[in-house]
Symmetry: D2
Subunit: 439 residues, 4 copies
């Protein structure tokens, strides 16, 4: 570390790897991160952080895409994996944890955010898959850390430990947010609306990988897509398909009509739009007019207006498809992301710090081309006058994100930790410096 | 019993009820009836029947709608329920059992058929549901005897026991077929093609319920629909729906196109046709172009030509939908039923015997309006010069077939047993009589 | 002729041929039969009939499928062909004519109905097409008597002349209805509702051809389909398809969605149903989002309930397709036919008279399988206590009805005339007889 | 005029208006410009230009979107309007004319292009529509100069006269191309492939209006879309929709399927794409399964690859829709445009000349957002080493292009003429200057 904080880099790198591999073995989907949260909370507690759970960090009524049945099963599994009952009680069904380091000295409020959920994907069973042959493969069939959030959580703990160890050199307050349910952009809005970040002066977040090679830092990714995730539930009426087909109300037919038409929403003059139906499940018996259908979809747009245009079309199509087939439809919001625009002084700061933090190359702009619910957090901080940045930490990958063969270059976690720590130092330095100037 | 055989009706009625309730507790879907088969085989064995399993009664290469994964799980469950390993070994993965009673005396070969599979339906959890409050509800969540085949199996065992007890009064051979996989019309064709019924002179089958009230016998149901059951497997290519939607090949879109178009197959001049897609499952992640889709469908027609017309259209639409979206499609036959036409002398015989067997009312014709794979067995027997009948044994029902609230009037099993036994007596009598005449 | 009326059959056959060929040269589509009506009215007038036009025979407010622009052009053409202005004035824009022969003697009211409109089909230009090489081909491109209504009109005039010549032998009243706009079932309902047939005791109508060979009479055709004809007008909003596709409201897309879904209306348990979209016209420029679309469709059903089921589905689909694409839709009824059931005493009467009228063979039942708006007239007469019949007069055809190569066997018009005259004689005889009995 | 050429601007403005209004009265659609071509040829001839017709300027085998039947009617009408038979003979069915002014002096070859076709749109009948109340409204119902090509032709003639009058001050060769069939991008490719422009050093073209206000010159419009225009002809089999719906092959249903699916072609990662079906016409009779359908469509893309992607999808969908419904489909190319990129030295030259030519304001870039088949000509010239420019001449409009109320600000033709003349002077000057330098 370049300045005041001291860290044993070799030991830290080892701990980061251990943490990451542990999280990798125990992957938990969005809103199911009970073991992960408990494990993180345990470490943070031991380092003296004040912890915040549940309603303290998440506005419960704006939660999206959380399924009670899954959550209950996840809690049971978490207990079997060793989650602490005390932590579970504090979570009260809502995963994720916030940690506060209050130095007691005047200074800025700096927040760092790490997302911790895994993906619903079957991890590769191939013997050449590193987590497999090194023995830290997923213990939960069908769930895997195939997006790198295991590394994010590890980086967060690495930073937490480093900060705690150097508490005396710090000023102001530092908030560490271990966020659940980033996949599907489900938690961001609810965390923003909880107000826990409303006093933050500086906000920093990062994602590992993202088609950025090992050694490169991208400090101002562009084109975060606004996105809405939604489920459509069609409810019709069953009937024997041979005996009285006219008596049914075909929810599957309505869903298929909706899918075909949603894919045909007209392109928009003002820019890029997207729509996808990722899943459709419908029907009971082969010879029964299907009385129910559920489809999972998403819209995207280059900006908020474009995404709204798409989503309104989806709503119109869903209603019309239901009417056409005499069925009912419910549209349930499941997630939402908005645009994300870094503050340029943060971009410049991290750009300058990159080479001192272990990055061989710093690139300013790169197309992000996807959605991130950190966007809600950034928007909230900026709305309250704070400055924010979301950057990309390069890592060579063995396969694309969300692919069962995905694996990261673990050696790229240390530079991320150093970058965050350096940024904290400089942000505190600048502030102090400014105060001195003022004096 | 009217003639030579003697039966304690009260004791028989009690045994029928016990058998039926036992089968009801242990429901097994098509091709999964390992416990059921083992239980039946055990009784038959104890009664001295010669048993036939697996390839002896089923032409393995024409089996439809059997899923290896399900079968393996079903075998494990059957063992846990008490199925005998010896029986499982003889089944060699193929459920169902044939039993032969050879009297050693000259006489006709008479075959009776009882289907034994349950339905994939969740049994009612309602406290007023009789199997529930009497304690014989399904032990397999999502599977239930909601079609009455538990009663069919019980009737078969009741007949088997009665015949064995009266063996000395009988002549010729009697074959009892405990058929698997009637639901979806999956086994009929394969059993027919095994040749096990090729020496049969008389074939009798019945279904309980079917909207016929308790006390009524329908001896010549009409309009059995020809039907083809099929699965379509669409295989495309995944891609991130936000980043490169053009790189995907959308199997879900292809399936939806196929569904919409299949429902629009033109009506046919020559009579009634049907098409249904009962289930559709597609896709992996919300933000991934769905690379796979499976749909389960069926066609029907008043006659073989009309069903062929429908099925050929389905094939054409499936291929074209795949081509349209650049995906691949496999069409897998899952079941098949053909028309069923009773022999009028059998109709008249059972009509005459009805009142002597406990039926208050005999109705000749009634629309069947559905499909039955006994049609293949009837067709096979008739093709070899035998006579066949399929009749309906009335029973008041608590809900329609395949409904979770379905329950039968158990007192209607006894008349069915008596009808079959009486028919056997008369058929043996007539034959003997004829032989005497010839002599 | 068998009884009281005398007719020179050879001369009559020649006049029938002349009339038929004249009508064939001047074909006029539904609601455009101004020349045809005028020509018929001229003959009837000269024979001493009292004539009824326009509102006297047609309830103007229930007219369907009449287009003002076509009517105006048709009047101009009719004048150029020699229609009398006096007749046009009396028609007041509504074609068709009723004629009354009041004998002044007591007796029944007998009505005969002849439809006179041509079809919108291009007549064959082939030199082997008889109307062409004999010089009586259609003078109106795109319109042709390809359904045989030219023969119907000729038969009507032949009967009119025969009746007038034998007026002294007749009793009661005879009404001859030369009906416009049978194609598309557009006029029947409006004529029925005018009340002109409300005093009718016996009603007779016939169609030539209909897959019945020359020499055969079918006196009780079965399965007249109920039918509704309709136009859907979709109205959207144009936009440049390259510059701002999102600004359009795509009427063509809505129409296509409606078509696909209408063809997929579920089959009905209770019997035969049909739906067709015969035409679709949409859009203006290749690069403009199409702002308008018109489609012409029809539903049918074995009975009134089945047709209603289909039509209600069409309405629902049309509204939903419009909603789906943000456009407006108007549904305009264009024609309607209902079921038709002959009175059995009329069936028996004509069956008996067939052999005496020149028919070599009389068949009782045959599937009609199409729709006829005589059904409204029959229904009205029967509703008022009258008896009615609609029969089929066999004629070998050169091609199917509505085909450009269609031509009839002209020699089959005479038997039709004789059948109608014989029927009149017998119906009058029976009535007189009955009155005598009463006396 | 700034330099050597002298022009009486007031008289020229008057002549431009007269020409424009004359062309406006006699609008002719693409490939039908026989009168227009003859009128232009007459003027050019009188000014001493050498003329080139038909195969000399257009590669006949690559012509797109030309309909023989329309062409024949258009020739007849052109004759009735006063087209010269001699010109018609030279055109030999292919409209448009090239004119060559060969000064005999060394110098560059400069080509100017003016498109002359009208649009298939009904001109406003509103009394406030200027062409109407000033008496120069379209004489051809349904065809109108609603895109400003009447002004383009007038500008071309104004330039032709000015050049001829100043021939002595000029050097090199000047080619004036009066292009047919720009609408739908039908002629550009065929003209390019004729080779008539292969010796051109400088190529200049312009469009009036295009949302640029009067007084403004846009000298480097951006984002010309690549586009393919196509017709799909579906051919099925008719059948009576009531009697035997299964016997038909529904071309309308195939077309509707194709439309729905074409609108759903996935968006592309690499940029903007478009697809539109502008027209659909299908079917014959209401009660006949429609045996034919024609649809007119277009694809667009930001670049050639994107347009190819769209067009290939259209082809695949068309084939699959035909297969799905058992019909045949023909895909007929009707027009094509590619990207257009100005040479920057031409952009700078015209930018400098704008203020001297009567433009109050010069704007460099503006989104074009549409397609132009001048793109093929520019591409050809650039491919042979020449320099090319396509610019926009501002004009306040009364309504958008292709709208029936469209009218231009006629005073903006004179600046266009002056700009072209100034450009010619400078291009000749520069060249001479360069040659002097070389010397």
């Amino acid at each position: 570390m370049v300045n005041k904080m001291t860290v044993d880099e070799q030991a830290l790198a080892q701990r980061l790897m251990n943490y990451r591999r542990e999280f990798h073995r125990y992957p938990e989907s969005a809103w199911c991160e009970f073991f992960t949260t408990s494990r993180i909370a345990g470490v943070l507690q031991s380092q003296g952080y004040e912890l915040f759970f549940s309603d303290a960090i998440i506005a419960r009524n704006t939660i999206m895409g959380r399924d009670d049945a899954n959550v209950i099963k996840a809690q049971e599994r978490a207990i079997s994996w060793g989650a602490e009952l005390d932590h579970l009680a504090q979570m009260n069904g809502i995963t994720g944890v916030g940690a506060l380091l209050d130095t007691g000295r005047p200074g800025p409020v700096i927040a760092l955010r790490f997302d911790i959920d895994a993906v619903d994907v079957m991890e590769s069973q191939d013997d050449s898959h590193r987590p497999r042959f090194l023995g830290f493969a997923s213990l939960a069939p069908g769930v895997a850390h195939a997006c790198g959030h295991d590394a994010h959580a590890a980086i967060g703990l690495g930073i937490a430990e480093s900060l705690a160890a150097n508490k005396n050199t710090l000023c102001g307050k530092i908030k560490l947010l271990f966020q659940p349910a980033e996949e599907g952009c489900r938690a961001g809005k609810a965390i923003a609306e909880s107000g826990w970040l409303d006093d933050v002066d500086y906000f920093i977040a990062a994602h590992i990988g993202m088609n950025v090679p090992s050694g490169t830092l991208v400090c101002d990714p562009q084109h975060f897509l606004c996105s809405s995730k939604f489920d459509l539930h069609f409810k019709g009426k069953p009937a024997h398909a041979g005996i009285e087909p006219n008596a049914g109300r075909n929810a599957l037919a309505a869903a298929c009509t909706a899918v075909s038409q949603m894919l045909a929403i007209p392109r928009h003059r003002d820019g890029m739009t997207r729509v996808n139906v990722g899943q459709l499940h419908a029907g009971d018996g082969r010879n029964v007019i299907p009385a129910n259908a559920v489809l999972m979809g998403e819209t995207r747009g280059e900006n908020r207006e474009l995404n709204s245009y798409m989503y309104q079309q989806v709503e119109q199509i869903a209603q019309a498809a239901a009417m056409m087939h005499g069925v009912k439809v419910d549209i349930k919001a499941q997630g939402e992301a908005i645009g994300l625009h870094n503050d340029q002084e943060m971009v410049e700061l991290l750009g300058r710090l990159g080479p001192y933090s272990g990055f061989a190359k710093v690139v300013r702009e790169k197309d992000f081309g996807a959605s991130e619910d950190a966007s809600y957090l950034v928007d909230r901080v900026q709305g309250n006058g704070g400055k924010a940045i979301y950057c990309l930490v390069g890592s060579d990958l063995t396969a694309g994100h969300h692919n069962g063969d995905f694996d990261i270059d673990e050696s790229r976690m240390l530079p991320a930790v150093k970058l965050f720590l350096n940024a904290i130092e400089h942000l505190q330095g600048e502030t102090i410096h400014k105060e001195e100037e003022v004096a």
